[in-house]
């Protein structure tokens, strides 16, 4: 038998048996889960033994990155704080006439004595 004839026979055979091959493959793939290798017993101990202390700054960064709203909220916080302070303490920040007089007292005095 020539090589070409052999190939033809193989192609015919595979053409006929293709559904069987597909079924067998699907069956074997479904069994993959049961044949999964188990981790060695020492691996968990090795993992736990090599666990480092966590970096709090890295924790904070990771917490910020976990959701979109977190960095937005963190960025908006100083702004909100500024608004709140501005709204509640707005009147207190204005200079009272007495304070103003104290600050400029020396200037007024010099002005009045014609030094300026």
């Amino acid at each position: 038998m020539t090589g070409k004839e052999g190939n033809q026979r193989g192609e015919e055979k595979s053409g006929e048996e293709l559904p069987d091959i597909q079924k067998a493959l699907e069956r074997d793939l479904e069994r993959l889960r049961a044949s999964r290798p188990a981790a060695p017993a020492y691996l968990q101990e090795r993992i736990m033994a090599n666990l480092p202390e966590r970096d709090p700054w890295q924790d904070l960064l990771d917490w910020l990155r976990a959701s979109t709203w977190r960095p937005v909220a963190a960025a908006a916080l100083p702004l909100l704080l500024g608004f709140t302070v501005g709204l509640t303490a707005g009147d207190d920040l204005e200079l009272e006439p007495t304070t103003e007089s104290l600050i400029f007292a020396e200037v007024w005095e010099a002005y009045e004595t014609d030094e300026i």
């Binding site: 889960r33 999964r36 993992i47 959701s67």
Partner: protein, 194 residues
Amino acid sequence: MQSQTDETQTDETLMKAIQRGNREAFSLLVSRHLDALFGYAMRLSGERAAAEDLVQDTWLAVWQKARSYNARKARVSTWLHRILHNRHIDNVRRRVPERLADTDEADIAALAATDDPVDEQAPSHEQLDKLIDTLPFEQKSALTLSYQQGFSNRDVGAIMGIGTRAVESLLARARKNLIKAREASIHTENEALP
């Protein structure tokens, strides 16, 4: 009061405890998912020692990046597999960049030409393992995550960072390639017959 690291706690509850730095919760989570991650790592790396290192690296990253876990985005098992998958890609890229290229045909043809014929009706696990190992990285990952690890196509997509359609396409191509490799083995057998 129920312990924070009770066996009945969900993975998500354990993750919250881990985010606060609870080592006991971490240990429990490791014991729950170690075999699954090791199985996937074995399939990706192909070597026991490399798989152990990959799994250890993954758990280290889980501990250090615990705060970045968001239960609304993914289940814990999906998140763990995604970390392992990405770390493996990083490792391989660092070593041999071309290993991840989608050049499947040559590998499959090489396997078919070996003296290890594959019985089309009842192949051993080793033979199936060898066939799967010849698949291109993306197809092998999708197939392993879907069949061996039992993830839905949506989760496989989340782990691999691709869409569900792409996963379906990868699975179809993987099955086609496996069938092609089996057929090639049968041809080799037939030609060897007197």
